[in-house]
């Protein structure tokens, strides 16, 4: 056991020297996270603001005007008045407006009455060709209606509790950046970690040093653990960089437990680093390894993590399939801890997910490690 630890330590120390002397690894570890965060964080902005909204107010009361004022002040919509129903169709067909809002006569009277069974009515027409935008408009509009409702609520009225009220908990502004940056940290940290280790074993094969390693009594487990340690520290540094950028540059609030978040990062990063080692152990070629690492690091984090396609909307098979990917679990942990004050209990399954993945990958890297030099 002491021999085991000594060998692990010397492999780690050797690897640490490689890192310090190899500009490529350092660039990957230190510059790439900045580039990724900048690229994804600023380019992927799903926020829709100042959308053009055609409006026809057929009520023309103080209530309807107050409602339109709320629409304006939300910042999401720029209003253009409409004259006649024909113009509404035309506007939508010309594709220069995503939505049309028509307030029906009697809107003000009904709202003031506060009768839930007979509310004031307004019609929202949205351009379904961009269904993401259309649904976002609906969500925004519902929020504005709720706000307006609140304004005209009779003092102490019973109706308040009976109304449907949608509030966006944890992300009150429904800012997509709040939603994206914690998810991005999943992609970036995972990809970086995989790339950091993907080259290390392949490099030993290519420059011949594997022959030296294999002729000594050192064992695969010692090599794998020794290689994990320095890259683990490097990857944790990247975690902190991404975290600080999220808080300072993107001004994302962090509501959860920092310790819990760091623990999750440590486990997640270990799994990703070990996956990189598995790739390196199996390919034994740097070029193949880096291509593999890129594909394996990038695709599942976008497709199966819930980053872009919500998991709840997937067919049953794929919902289970995503469980294989640690990105899915870490994304959940990251979003939850950034935007809510959740403790460990609700995240336990996710922790199991990333933990199991890490263990399986380490075991796989050890057992797939080739101990002879047969080509």
């Amino acid at each position: 056991m002491r021999l085991f630890l000594r060998r692990v330590r010397s492999v780690a120390a050797k690897e640490y020297k490689h890192i310090l002397r190899d500009p490529f690894t350092l660039v990957v570890a230190l510059v790439l996270p900045l580039i990724f965060v900048g690229m994804f964080g600023f380019v992927i902005d799903l926020d829709y603001k100042h959308m053009r909204l055609y409006v026809r107010d057929n009520d023309q009361t103080s209530v309807s005007r107050r409602f339109l004022q709320e629409v304006s002040s939300s910042g999401y919509f720029d209003q253009t008045p409409l004259h006649g129903p024909a113009q509404a169709d035309e506007a939508l067909q010309k594709n220069n407006t995503p939505a049309v809002l028509i307030i029906k006569p009697g809107f003000g009277r009904h709202v003031k009455a506060g009768d839930i069974s007979d509310p004031g009515q307004a019609q929202l027409l949205t351009d379904g060709t961009d269904n993401v935008q259309a649904s976002i408009i609906q969500i925004y509009m519902r929020g504005i209606i709720e706000a307006t409702n609140a304004l005209f609520l009779p003092e102490g009225g019973e109706g308040a509790s009976a109304r449907i009220r949608t509030r966006f908990l944890f992300n009150p502004e429904l800012s997509s950046r709040w939603f994206i940056v914690p998810a991005l940290s999943t992609v970036i940290i995972g990809l970086l970690a995989i790339m950091l280790t993907a080259l290390t074993v392949a490099k030993e094969w290519e420059n011949g040093s594997m022959e030296l390693l294999l002729s000594t009594p050192v064992r695969p487990a010692e090599i794998v653990l020794g290689k994990l340690i320095p890259y683990f520290l490097l990857a944790l540094f990247d975690v902190l960089v991404v975290f600080v950028l999220a808080l300072t540059v993107f001004r994302i609030p962090f509501e959860g437990s920092f310790l819990l978040y760091m623990l999750a990062c440590a486990v997640y990063v270990t799994g990703a680093l070990a996956l990189g080692l598995v790739i390196s152990v199996v390919t034994r070629q740097q070029q193949a390894a880096i291509q593999f690492a890129f594909a394996v690091g990038l695709l599942p984090s976008f497709i199966f993590s819930g980053f872009i396609f919500p998991i709840e909307n997937m067919p049953l098979f794929f919902r289970w399939f995503t469980a294989l990917f640690p990105q899915r679990w870490f994304l959940l942990i990251s979003r939850t801890l950034f935007l809510s004050e959740a403790g460990f209990a609700p995240l336990a399954p996710a922790f199991w997910g990333i933990g199991l993945f890490a263990v399986v990958m380490i075991v796989l890297a050890v057992f797939k490690f080739k101990t002879d030099v047969e080509p």
Partner: protein, 309 residues
């Protein structure tokens, strides 16, 4: 008794890569404390055989035993006793000489103090005192080889494999290397060395000649010379300038193979009776005298003998 005096015992070893047999059913043994030479052209199967003995490659068939233990089943016991210097340079180019040695030593479980003491001892032995803090990639080919040797000897193995240790180095380095190899053997180590320089093989206690995966001759240098040259090679000194005619006639009639050397021919005679008759017939053209055969002669004759057969 024979098992104890043999440190390596190889029986019917075959290693196939796909359909290609890199090593084809060879058997030999290495005695404890000898300098054992493994000779042959590139691609003869020398490195493959060494890798099998070091436990770096699994034989397709046959057995390899070190100290009576099967290599494939007791690698962990045997590896600490074996020092293997690969033909390829296997140290880390970005680490310094010291760092490389410290790393190699630590994998054998040596403590830092032990490594330091041992490295100093080795450096004296090898004569490497400069460059210790230089990255290995900056060193010249010869110095690199010396450092690689130091890394191989650091854990004081009693069985040392040197795969083409002198390939591509200067004559001085080659001479130094062989001085070291002889010292190692004097200190009781078994040295298994491959080379394709036939002159180096003279230093070996025993030799195996390999060609295309097969062993074509085994013995001490002296035994091999006697075996292949019951009659020694001869040098022909010419009194008339008819070297090329004589050479052509000798080879056409298969009396022997000839090579030009300064002002004459060196002939490995195949058929002594016919050669003597021919020499008598050409008495006015050349005179001849026997010379000591070299291992180069042995190798060439062994290879050509196989081609004829």
């Amino acid at each position: 008794m024979s098992i104890e005096s043999n440190i390596i015992q190889v029986e019917n070893l075959t290693v196939a890569f796909g359909g290609f047999k890199a090593v084809d059913g060879i058997s030999f043994e290495v005695k404890r404390g000898e300098i054992f030479g493994f000779l042959g052209a590139n691609g003869a199967g020398k490195t493959t055989t060494i890798r099998c003995i070091c436990g770096l490659l699994n034989p397709t068939s046959g057995t390899v035993k070190v100290d009576g233990k099967d290599v494939s089943s007791s690698t962990s016991v045997l590896k600490p006793r074996i020092g293997y210097m690969s033909q390829k340079f296997t140290l880390y180019p970005d680490l310094t000489v010291k760092e490389n040695l410290a790393f190699a030593g630590s994998l054998y479980g040596l403590k830092r103090k032990q490594i330091k003491a041992r490295a100093e001892e080795l450096m004296q032995f090898i004569g490497l005192t400069q460059h210790l803090n230089e990255p290995v990639k900056l060193l010249s080919g010869g110095v690199k080889q010396v450092v690689a040797l130091a890394a191989t000897l650091l854990h004081d193995p009693d069985l040392v494999f040197l795969d083409e240790p002198t390939a591509g180095t200067s004559p001085t380095t080659r001479a130094d290397f062989w001085r070291l190899i002889r010292t190692l053997a004097q200190n009781g180590k078994t040295v298994f060395v491959t080379t394709h320089y036939m002159d180096e093989a003279e230093y070996c206690g025993r030799i195996v000649l390999m060609e295309r995966g097969k062993i074509i001759a085994t013995g001490t240098p002296q035994e091999l010379k006697e075996q292949f040259f019951p009659q020694p090679p001869v040098e022909l000194v010419f009194s008339r300038p008819e070297i090329s005619r004589v050479r052509a006639e000798l080879e056409r009639s298969n009396i022997g193979e000839a090579e030009n050397f300064s002002g004459g021919l060196r002939v490995r005679v195949n058929d002594w009776a016919r050669f003597e008759a021919y020499a008598k017939e050409q008495a006015g053209v050349f005179a001849f005298h026997p010379v000591e055969p070299t291992l180069e002669d042995v190798f060439l004759k062994a290879v050509s003998g196989r081609k004829g057969a």
